[in-house]
Symmetry: C2
Amino acid sequence: MQAVGIVVEYNPFHNGHLHHVNEAKRTTNSDVAVAVMSGQFLQRGEPALVDKWHRTKMALASEVDIVIELPYIFSTAQATGFASGAVQLLEAMQCTTLAFGSEQGSITPFLNTFHLIESNRTLYNAIIKETIQQGKSYPQALFAAYEQLKQLSPNAYIDLGQPNNILGFHYVEAMEQLQTVMRPATIQRIAAGYHDAIDTDSEIASATGIRQALFSGQSLEQVTQYLPEASIEQLGHWQAEHGRFASWESFWPLLQYAILRHTPQQLKQYADVSEGLENSLIKYARSSSNFVEFMNAMKSKRYTWTRLQRMLTHIYTGVTKEQLHAYSSPTYIRILGMTSAGQQYISRIKKSLSLPLISRVAAVSDPILAIDLHATQMYQLGIQQFSNKKIDEDYKTPPIRY
Amino acid sequence: MQAVGIVVEYNPFHNGHLHHVNEAKRTTNSDVAVAVMSGQFLQRGEPALVDKWHRTKMALASEVDIVIELPYIFSTAQATGFASGAVQLLEAMQCTTLAFGSEQGSITPFLNTFHLIESNRTLYNAIIKETIQQGKSYPQALFAAYEQLKQLSPNAYIDLGQPNNILGFHYVEAMEQLQTVMRPATIQRIAAGYHDAIDTDSEIASATGIRQALFSGQSLEQVTQYLPEASIEQLGHWQAEHGRFASWESFWPLLQYAILRHTPQQLKQYADVSEGLENSLIKYARSSSNFVEFMNAMKSKRYTWTRLQRMLTHIYTGVTKEQLHAYSSPTYIRILGMTSAGQQYISRIKKSLSLPLISRVAAVSDPILAIDLHATQMYQLGIQQFSNKKIDEDYKTPPIRY
């Protein structure tokens, strides 16, 4: 049996994702698709629309065979750490290929780009540093450095202005640096751009567009055309149970409280809180009455929305810089769910796994896992702040079998 | 002009309090009554029913002339620290007498009790220590030690089984130890016991009884007979604005979140969190769906409800043990409100004050005051978690003039 690995967030799982899984299996001639998926908090630094269990069910109903949780310390890290955690898990799952979607659509330019940057790393970093000092954001600095490097040796390179190309680059980079047996492949993304609003003439919309539609008060029926039936069903269950989808806006009362509990000095224990941000956090948490108002006050040229959100995720969950940076490699494989084909695949590789496989968490003591269980609690508190539920879902939920 | 000092919480101000102020002024022949009042969090370790501004208005409308805020670090301390902070502030306000209500009703037995304990301090502490080691609570141990001491030298002593006698004892103790110019006096409490439920045949009910009635869903009309008109009015304003009175039950979603944000180790930074309480806190915060359920799970013979609540107050506000224990004396006098007679009195003593007088806080930088402003924010967040108000009341509210 051959497995293809994919790195996903499924927030929510839509037709574009379905296309990607199918193409990943077809083009690599794989029997199963293994998805490593962010848990309750995502790489953009925000809570997932619905929890990891609902998203796992969406995936298993739509051609994904195994869903592995990407631990919090990786899922909320910058692109490099995110990619490294995901790549290590897929390698541990003995995937032959990691297939990512990209605007580029062919793999050679990714490898060219990696080798260009790798062989000019010192110059590259120097340009980035200089550009940041000129007041640009990190992504802007990265882009500027890349443009200069490309002049050195003409070749087919990727366009690092495209969000999925950037992600793909980090996967390729992680695989090359970790010297994985697993090889990279890429699938041309179709139709919707990463951040595009929905287009009613298409069956493909970006997750961003779908979320925007849901939060702007549109009913599930109005986004049905972009989602597989199982996704509609899971979103419907969630909505019926919780009344709304998770978002920073709904977590705001707790986030505001979390920020204001601290002195500026105490806030510095969280990742990315420095350079006076500790004072702005308190000042604007005090003066803002909702999340968007707060973010608009916090945002500056220097800090991207995503970086600020990641910082807020850590303040919200209470996971300190020290906890976050204590580990750079996964220490276990946590199965969130599997199909019968997925189960077959696991049975075959089980004995040769390099990391322990976790299906029930209650008996396991691991510091990275402890952070995941903690993050789940914090997510549940955010959703359940108006209900009176107990907070123990991660302990009682076994892997989903589809 | 002569001033009598009183130590109050007014949660809420009721007819028994009115009787106490009037008697305090009459029996000491004073022109004004100066009340040092707990702010948003009280000595029993809970949020006040309504905020300090509303309670100040109740007091000023009912014979109190000046209301001074007892800083958070004293108002949420054990009895000794609470009494010491209050006594120091009333001494700084140049009160001639501190008049407290008690079951005892005359001052000599208080002084006798103080001198009995003071001259046998070593024995007293040894018995307390031993009794606690036998598994009793601190109040129980204190009571047992006292019973043994009384055998040493027969005299008129107070009954330390009575809650207001205990408080009074701590005021006398603080005054004797600090050698204040101000002298103690006591006023016999009338009718309702400290914790009694309300009695519809009387015009006097305990604050505890009134709160119970309010939280059990009775309307303000049903407690009208126990409260001066101004108290009814202020409670009514509050209810109209916030929909409910502040309580741990309504603060529970934030308290639960605050506890669960921490690792057990991190919880130890708060006062009284030790001896495994850090693990129980997390265990029961996870399994409880409301405050009473949580407290019933937490409570044991060893820890009184009040001690647990004080611990929770600090976790809720985020004020660490280190912050709490950094100071043992007030560094300023903060006026929450005054009548015109109160203002006259302040004008007279203004030049000879030993502590700076604060009426507007925005321009003042003081670590004890910073904690008070912080506690006010935390209180406001607790009340306003379902509204979208800004959190800046302490900065914009000047002293109330009545």
